[in-house]
């Protein structure tokens, strides 16, 4: 066995520098022409590690003048990242982008991260950093929030447009977020809420307590009510606030702040909500099919936040997320489908389904599926396959042909949300005479 290994090493050495250079990490101290001949077996000229490169790559003069120059570039150590002869990777890199960076910057990725920035986990360091030089610190491509906006445009635009701004967010996203990965919290936060928030906002302060109606909320999750990125509501509450919260009437639902059970709702489950919303809940329960979360467990709070929300109607999150907690299979189907049904992706499940109750299966908002689809898809009114009450489905005498005779609303693995691979497969299910 040993002799085989020795033979293998000999063959590798004999294969020459090109192969060796590709496989092995780039040598940091290649012998130069000035060194003794026995220490420079490849007869490299002086500056072969990088200085020589600039003879051809003259544009680097400009880069070297920038404020932040990557150390290997500054020290003219081009072979620190590039293979001078050949490579399996673009730009003659000696390895994939992320791997090259990790040779020196491996510690940037926390070993037991609770959250990792996607470009980091994907090894796409160049999404944020210039490999050679930039005019921003840490070789960043852009400065501050402008860089983050490259991917998080909607969020950054929202921050800029918010009437009530959070000062640290205006300064820099990195005030609260780690940029590579966080071992402490999700969403790359340096600490999870409320620990992060109470670093600046003293929960025992008089103003803090007054703002929270003397409820000791220092250990509560601030982001259930407040938008840390700024909002259009006083107190940086989310844009949609439950009226009792907006009026400071916490005691309408909770025991008084001095009570030992101060955070406990006055009544459990749906009974609490009925105190104000009895007529609405009565409407829900009068229908034949009530969505189970309406009646069970935490009832309304299964889907709604009781204090504030980004969305109208106070759902705890975008409906794709809220509904997806139970209907993950449906959301997954849409994700895998080549054809996307816009309301599903946009979190508008309520466009077709009543999330509270319905008289129809699948909690649809209407009994007539053609009319429902027609709210968005008007083409069926001028040119369409015959559909409607007078058109029987040849496969099933109890069904009329409607949109769902040929499509599945949450998508399929095939084009146009069809349940079959080809149009021919679909059509010949009914038009059997054309089947080959």
């Amino acid at each position: 066995m040993r002799s085989r290994i020795a033979l293998l090493l000999t063959l590798m050495a004999a294969a020459g520098p090109a192969v060796a250079a590709t496989k092995a990490p780039p040598a940091k101290a290649q012998p130069t022409a000035a060194a003794p001949k026995q220490g420079n077996p490849y007869r490299l000229k002086a500056g072969a590690e990088g200085k020589l490169c600039l003879d051809c790559h003259a544009d680097f003069e400009q880069k070297l003048a920038q404020k932040s120059v990557h150390t290997p570039v500054r020290t003219r150590d081009c072979v620190g990242c590039h293979n001078p002869h050949a490579s399996d990777h673009g730009k003659l890199l000696a390895d994939t982008g992320g791997q090259i960076c990790a040779r020196c910057h491996g510690a940037m990725v926390p070993a037991s991260a609770k959250s990792l920035h996607a470009p980091v986990s994907e090894g796409k360091c160049a999404s944020c950093h210039a490999a050679h030089a930039s005019n921003f610190k840490n070789n960043l491509l852009k400065g501050g929030a402008e860089l983050c906006a490259g991917c998080h445009k909607k969020l950054v635009d929202g921050i800029a447009a918010a009437k009530v701004k959070h000062k640290p967010v205006e300064n820099d996203c990195a005030t609260c977020h780690e940029v590579h990965g966080s071992t402490a919290a999700p969403s790359l936060l340096k600490k999870d809420a409320p620990d992060l928030c109470v670093g600046c906002h003293r929960p025992d302060g008089a103003i803090f307590l007054k703002k929270h109606m003397n409820y000791p909320v220092g250990k509560a999750r601030c982001t259930t009510c407040h938008d840390p990125h700024g909002s259009n509501k006083p107190g940086m509450l989310y844009d949609h606030v439950h009226p009792p919260v907006a009026r400071g009437q916490c005691a309408q639902c909770h025991e008084p702040p001095g009570s030992p059970n101060r955070f406990k709702p006055k009544q459990a489950g749906v009974e609490l909500c009925k105190l104000c919303h009895a007529p609405k809940i009565g409407e829900f329960t009068a229908k034949a099919r009530v969505h189970r979360p309406v009646l069970e467990g935490d009832a309304c709070l299964t889907c709604h936040g009781p204090h504030a929300s980004k969305q109208a109607g106070l759902p705890r999150a975008n409906l794709t997320v809220v509904c997806g907690e139970c209907h993950a299979d449906t959301i997954k189907r849409q994700k895998l489908s080549p054809a996307k049904h816009e309301p599903v992706g946009a979190g508008e499940c309520g466009a077709c389904h009543d999330p509270h109750s319905s008289d129809t299966p699948l909690m649809l908002t209407g009994a007539n599926r053609i009319e429902m689809c027609g709210k968005c898809h008007d083409w069926q009114r001028h040119s369409s396959h015959p559909i409607g009450e007078k058109v029987k489905d040849p496969r099933n005498p109890n069904r009329n042909v409607d949109c769902l005779s040929c499509h599945r609303a949450h998508g399929t693995e095939y084009a146009q949300m069809l349940p079959f691979p080809t149009t021919t497969d679909l059509c010949t299910k009914c038009h059997e005479s054309f089947k080959r």
Partner: protein, 297 residues
């Protein structure tokens, strides 16, 4: 790997590994019930129950009625309509050993008892049940005892034939949504969690359920009905359009039926029941019909 393969891998793999057992229990389409004897079309039937002597009850939910049939020698006869004010939205049906019909009404959230001909006998009064009990599903055993899934508990209430609670078995409160309960001949209970696609079990005499399977999202999408038959669990995968078959130890044994509109295929199936001769009845809700399959015994 193509997108189609990725997409189908979940259920596809199950089907690949399933046929050894599945083939022996293959559901072969026998007949379909589209309407009552007077040509009144079925509409969104959610329930079907099989009982002694070939009695078959269909919950024709969308028409707010029950249909009473007799299944004998491979054919179905009767189809008497039962329409009662006490049952505006029949959802799940079962037949007890005396041939009485038990109906869970989805709108009233009550279990109603009818005689074999469909005459109203009364609501099942769950005496001794915790306040606020909300029946979401139920089963009957050979002695007429009821096993009621209280979705508010959540728990399973075991009652005597008169509805008096004699035992309650707790289900976990978090991370699951239970949609049905089943019981085997030895008194072991099973419950199905639609959200987690898992099966839970409780031995006879246990006070709480324990997990029988981890999530089986790989073989079922959104299971909503559970039947125990001849040593196997039949799980109606409503959103996945099919029936998953598990051993009593939770092992996956195969899958039957597939999503579609043609006879033999199902679209949001709701309830199944078994006849002694091997016939399987499926309430094919999305297709507005009851389908009968032969398992070839």
């Amino acid at each position: 790997m193509s997108r189609a393969i990725v997409f189908q891998s979940v259920l596809g793999l199950a089907m690949v590994f399933g046929p050894a057992v599945g083939a022996a229990q293959a559901f072969r389409h026998q007949t379909t019930v589209y309407s009552d004897p007077k040509e009144g079309q079925l509409r969104r039937p959610e329930g079907v129950a099989c009982g002694a002597g070939g009695a078959v009850v269909v919950a024709d939910t969308g028409n707010a009625r029950l249909l009473l049939y007799t299944y004998r020698d491979g054919s179905l006869s009767g189809g008497t309509q039962v329409k009662l004010a006490q049952v505006p939205y029949p959802y799940r049906v079962q037949l007890d050993p005396k041939g009485e019909v038990l109906v869970l009404d989805e709108k009233l959230r009550k279990i109603v008892r009818l005689d074999a001909k469909g005459a109203f006998l009364g609501n099942v009064d769950l005496q001794g049940a915790p306040a606020g009990t909300l029946p979401g599903a139920f089963k009957v055993d050979g002695a007429g005892n009821l096993y009621v899934l209280d979705v508010l508990g959540p728990r399973v209430l075991v009652t005597d034939p008169a509805g008096k609670v004699i035992r309650q078995v707790e289900l976990p409160r978090e991370g699951a949504q239970f949609t049905d309960v089943a019981v085997d001949g030895g008194g072991t209970l099973y419950a199905v969690d639609a959200v987690g696609a898992g099966i839970w079990t409780a031995d006879k005499g246990a006070t709480a359920f324990k997990r029988l399977t981890e999530s089986r999202k790989d073989v079922m999408s959104f299971p909503t009905y559970l039947a125990f038959h001849q040593g196997k669990l039949y799980v109606v995968d409503q959103h996945g359009g099919g029936i998953a078959i598990l051993g009593s130890d939770g092992s996956f044994q195969g899958r039957q039926l597939a999503l579609g509109w043609s006879p033999g295929l199902v679209y949001y199936p709701a309830q199944i029941c078994f006849e002694p001769d091997g016939a399987v009845f499926v309430a094919d809700r999305g297709n507005d019909r009851i389908q009968v399959f032969d398992t070839g015994r």
